[in-house]
């Protein structure tokens, strides 16, 4: 049985590695293996001479079983640091090349290998990593998405970083944005160091504003200003058939995108403790905010209704068919690439304090990491000012490192983003384990309202959804 298990393990370690394209290495550090062990059975040779390979593997299994350790080749054992990140296979881009170069520098500095494990699939990142945690195969470094951080933090999946910080005189937590750091904080315990982040802001198309003769929105603007701008930016074709050809506002029904508008009216999805939605989602302030959105889309038609969306392409804002759009920093890459003349401003408010949400990626160390010390070195390296300056130059996000972020100060767009950090709150998913599920319910609620042809009132929809959310949160 032992031999069989080892054989299985060996085959898996040879071919089952998620990392492709380089020599397969063993992470296992075992006692020195007998010199009689056949020389490396590289995957290449296995393919070329199958029968011989089988004999070699069987032979080595016998030896390994006797040696009682982990099989390894005679080559030097390279330490491997495993890093988990979301995203799938992509077309090679300058940013990917840059990221790889940055990792390779770390590899050279430390004499180790970084195994970068991309986990593809919409909504698959958290489940896959949690499963890896349960089965004890979780990577050392976990890229933590603020929107789903709670389930990791509150289930002992990650390590407390404060001992690493305390024991490392070269690391200064003060160098990072405080309210971004606090996303992964539970009292004195800190679970992640910010890599990069973005507050949600309002993008506006300057060309369309100029054409309509509307002044650009200014920080501290109100819903009334927003409504008036959306109205004047809505353009009909000459024969006025079939609705507007250009909309004031591009609406997309994803809860992470529209939820901040509740905050700008003093409303919220959940109560401050994050335990229930009744009295909050269906409270007057939230209902007013959702009604404002629905009216904008249905009564006034100044916003692009999801029913019409398909005819306006993948991104109506980028296509110049919508004047205003709520987006994060990431949208800048494409807007710049398109040569769009755009500006950004904080979200409009309606009597309440300025508010927005921060979406963030942090780096954390898995509780079951095999290389915690090396993982810490990696986190320090990746979040350092130098590396961050190079990474965020792409326009992807704002660096969590204030020094790196300051490097881009003076650019009006960057400054507008930085200003919003002062008003930004973490997403509910950072503290409420089930919030990603709640976001699904919110999306369905909005869909129910917008596809009911006015039959389902906002009051009723929010009341019913609040009850569903309460039930889902009470189960936790």
């Amino acid at each position: 049985m032992r031999g069989l298990a080892t054989l299985f393990g060996r085959v898996v370690s040879r071919f089952g590695e998620p990392y492709a394209g380089r020599d397969v290495e063993h992470r296992c550090v075992g006692p020195a293996v007998s010199a009689e062990q056949p020389r490396a059975t590289t995957p290449k040779r296995v393919k070329a001479v199958p029968m011989r390979a089988v004999r070699l593997i069987l032979g080595s299994v016998a030896i390994v079983s006797l040696a009682g350790g982990c099989a390894d080749d005679e080559q030097a054992v390279t330490t491997v640091l495993r890093v988990a990140n979301w995203g799938g296979v992509q077309v090679e881009s300058d940013f990917m090349t840059l990221e790889r170069e940055i990792r390779e520098e770390f590899e050279r500095q430390q004499g180790v290998r970084v195994q970068f494990e991309q986990i593809p699939g919409h909504g698959q990142y958290a489940p896959k990593l949690l499963m890896m945690h349960v089965t004890g195969s979780v990577p050392d470094v976990v890229t933590l998405d603020a929107s789903s951080a709670a389930v990791f933090i509150d289930n002992n999946v990650l390590r407390d970083l404060t001992p690493f910080i305390a024991g490392d005189p070269t690391f200064e937590l003060d160098h990072y944005f405080e309210n971004v750091v606090n996303i992964a904080r539970r009292g004195e315990v800190l679970y992640a160091i910010p890599l990069d982040f973005t507050p949600m802001v309002m993008y506006y198309n300057k060309t369309l504003f100029d054409a309509a003769g509307v002044a650009y929105p200014q920080p501290g603007w109100s819903w009334d200003d927003f409504f008036a701008a959306a109205q004047r930016l809505t353009v009909y074709a000459d024969d006025a058939r079939g609705g507007p050809v250009q909309f004031g506002f591009n609406f997309e029904n994803a809860a992470p995108l529209w939820m901040p508008l509740l905050w700008t009216n003093g409303g919220d999805v959940l109560d401050p403790t994050g335990k229930r939605a009744s009295g909050y989602l269906d409270g007057p302030k939230s209902v007013e905010a959702i009604q404002f959105i629905v009216d904008l889309l249905e009564k006034h038609e100044y916003g692009l209704h999801p029913k019409r969306r398909a005819a306006f392409g993948l991104d109506p804002f980028r296509a110049g068919k919508a004047g205003l759009d709520m987006k994060g920093h990431w949208a800048m890459i494409e807007c710049r690439a398109d040569g769009l003349d755009f500006g950004v401003v904080g979200l409009p408010t309606n009597g309440a304090e300025r508010a927005t949400v921060i979406y963030e990626a942090g780096l954390a160390i898995a509780q079951r990491a095999e290389q915690p010390e090396l993982a810490w070195e990696y986190i320090k390296y990746m979040t350092s000012a130098d590396v961050q300056r190079r990474r965020v130059a792409s326009g992807l996000a704002i660096s969590g490192n204030k020094q790196a972020a300051a490097h881009f100060a003076g650019n009006p767009v960057e400054d507008a983003f930085i200003e919003e950090v002062n008003y930004a709150r973490p997403p509910w998913g950072a503290t409420v384990e089930r919030y990603p599920f709640v976001e699904g319910l919110l999306k369905e609620m909005m869909e129910d309202i917008l596809y009911s042809d006015g039959k389902l009132s906002v009051e009723q929809a929010t009341r019913e959804t609040a009850k569903l959310i309460d039930a889902a949160l009470a189960e936790q």
């Binding site: 489940p127 949690l130 029913k307 969306r309 005819a311 599920f437 596809y451 889902a472």
Partner: protein, 302 residues
């Protein structure tokens, strides 16, 4: 035949790999799932309190789970009969001795060897408003006939249409395998029976009705049962095309189980739901067996 004990062990040796495989990857997970179904089992929590049948009572009190059962039954009710009839029709067509019929058989079989994710993407594109093939076709028709068919219908975002799209897709994906089985059944019917029927003056339809169809009954039973089981287990197209929407109209049981397990991490509840799905499939399959057996015994030649 030697059945003495001294030789039996060789037989066990031969079935040992398959038995071990089934025990490890089928029997054990099934039993373990039954165990989990009786517990409040969160993926990440240390303790898993025993809750008896509470998961089952809770799921039937949940309107969304009942909705998922309803959606699944709707899907089964449409996709199974339509799927069986269309594949039988296609099998009849490609059973003819025609030049190049192999080409058509291959063509019909291609979806079966393609990834369901890729096929789902193709269907998404076909159904796109304006640019999609269907809506583009409507626009062409409008131009040709002066009709006024809407060309911006977003089929996957409308409650009735989204389910219809899933049913239509199931006809396409499942066509190949069902067609091959029917084809084998058709080709195993002795030619002499058709000759005898022709001598008795039976025309094309009568020959089909009184010769082909009765003799295909065992094949049909097999196709109906396997198609039904597959229909109850609909998942991939839902995951890729609709995510259970719009308005939960395509939230079928297996997708609901997936969300329970991987969005809520309630593995115990998801296991309990899996057993309910299992029971549903079992009941329907037994029912089908009974009906078909009766039909078989009635239809059999005296």
């Amino acid at each position: 035949m030697n059945t003495s004990g001294s030789h039996n062990w060789r037989g066990y040796l031969f079935v040992a790999p398959a038995t071990a495989y089934l025990a490890l990857f089928a029997l054990f997970p099934m039993l373990f799932a039954a165990w989990m179904a009786l517990h409040r089992w969160h993926l990440l929590k240390e303790d898993h309190p025993f809750v008896g049948l509470a998961n089952f009572t809770a799921m039937f009190a949940d309107p969304f789970f009942r909705g998922a059962i309803y959606n699944t039954l709707i899907y089964v009710a449409f996709s199974v009969p339509l799927g069986v009839v269309t594949s039988l029709a296609v099998a009849m067509l490609v059973a003819q001795r025609l030049r190049g019929v192999g080409f058509f058989r291959t063509l019909f079989y291609i979806p079966a060897v393609s990834s369901q994710v890729a096929l789902s993407m193709v269907v998404i594109w076909i159904l796109l408003p304006e640019q999609g093939l269907v809506n583009y076709g409507f626009a062409k028709l409008n131009a040709l006939l002066g009709a006024e068919i809407p060309t911006a219908t977003d089929f996957l975002k409308q409650t009735g249409w989204a389910m219809a799209a899933l049913v239509a897709m199931s006809l396409w994906i499942g066509l190949g395998p069902r067609m091959i089985i029917f084809l084998a059944g058709i080709q195993s019917i002795p030619e002499t029976l058709y000759e005898a029927a022709a001598l008795d003056g039976a025309t094309g339809w009568k020959r089909f009705r009184h010769v082909t169809l009765p003799l295909l009954a065992p094949t049909t039973l097999f196709v109906v049962v396997t198609t039904t089981i597959a229909a109850f287990q609909l998942f991939t197209p839902v995951y890729v095309m609709t995510e259970g929407g719009p308005r939960r109209s395509t939230d079928v049981v297996l997708y609901h189980i997936y969300k329970e397990a991987w969005q809520k991490f309630e593995i115990g509840m998801a296991s309990a739901m899996s057993y309910v799905l299992f029971a549903m499939i079992l009941i329907v399959a037994l029912f089908q067996f009974r009906i078909m057996r009766r039909a078989l015994s009635e239809g059999a030649p005296a």
